[in-house]
Amino acid sequence: MKRIFLILLGLAEGVIVGMALVAFLMVLDVIPRLIRFTSTKSKIRLYQSVILIGALIGILIDFYDFALPNLFFLNELLVVLSGLFFGIFVGLVAGALTEVLKVLPILSRRLGLKDEMKLMLSAIILGKALGSLVYWLFPQIWS
């Protein structure tokens, strides 16, 4: 009886979290942005499946311990590439977050810096990259 309840609980949790994940991606307008950027509107179905598979693989990595076999330099390359792609994704999400998108128009109007938006945006982008680097390169600061 308890097992059935656990199964039900797990299923319910999964459904809610899955919906939340998709809703999160939808709300941020990241995917439409990428599709427009690459003009690949016809490949929407592919993107859907890729997101699904990505989430499933994430689950596998999370719950099971496994490691890739050692293949010369390929492992290093994969690490660098996956780091880069994680970063691009997080960058897209960070840009889409309201902190930037809703705040900048108001800020620039308030401060009378309407023509300096480009500069302000660049400052934010550089700040994000540098902040991230500092966070990883000097972990002793906050541990």
Binding site: A67, P69, G83, L84, I88, S108, E116, G127, A129, W136
Partner: protein
């Protein structure tokens, strides 16, 4: 003078908002687009409707009926077709205000604001990493791919940091002066929406006030 007896037709397209200075004369030309026979059009456009009075303050309202009335005074027989807005909102700008907006901000101020944004976003991303526990996830992925555990998988994290910049540049479609393509950036769209909202709001307020002033007079 034109023959006033014939069945001439005039189309008026009354504007929504007109910017004016104090004591400016408001002719039909300022308030509305006129379509008609050329000669008639010229005469109509010269008709004076009102002047911007001091008591009006920031704004006043001229109804389309007042405009039509002014035309009817000169050309009683004219058929007037009115399309467009029912009221014109006169947005009265004082000169000093205008100049303030046109001057460019001082360099030091811009640098100061940029610095705040720069440091602020750096702090924000650090907080984000700490908040979502990005470190352990990176260690996990590093271990999965490389087979060995590493407390500081910089091989993963440095490209990740650069990726953040790339991702944001893709999202905003620009970095400093360089635009990737001609699409409007999401920021430009957001800016446009925000400005429209502000304008609409101030307009609504101004028209409210102007209507009150009008009521008070009569």
């Amino acid at each position: 003078m034109l023959d006033k007896g014939t069945k001439e037709e005039v189309f008026l397209r009354v504007k929504r908002v007109v910017r004016a200075e104090p004591n400016q004369r408001l002719d039909i030309k300022d308030l509305s687009e006129v379509v008609s026979e050329d000669k008639l059009k010229e005469e109509i456009e010269k008709i004076r409707v009102k002047e911007v009075v001091k008591e009006a303050g920031d704004s006043m309202i001229i109804t389309a009926l007042e405009i039509i009335g002014a035309i009817k005074r000169e050309f009683p027989e004219l058929r007037i077709e009115h399309i467009g807005e029912a009221d014109v909102i006169i947005d009265i700008e004082k000169n000093s205000k205008k100049n303030k907006h046109q001057s460019s901000p001082p360099r030091l101020y811009v640098i100061f604001v940029s610095l705040i944004l720069f440091l602020g976003s750096a702090m924000a991303i650090m907080n984000f990493h700490a908040d979502v526990g990005m470190g352990p996830v990176h260690q996990r992925i590093y271990q999965m791919i490389m087979g060995v555990s590493n407390q500081e998988p910089l091989l993963l994290q440095v490209p990740y940091s650069l990726g953040i910049a790339i991702g944001m540049i893709i999202f905003f479609n620009r970095f400093y002066k360089y635009k990737i393509d001609d699409d409007p950036t999401p920021l430009e769209i957001e800016m446009y929406l925000y400005e429209n909202k502000v304008n609409e709001f101030s307009l609504a307020q101004k028209s409210k006030r102007a209507k009150q002033i009008k009521k008070g007079k009569h």
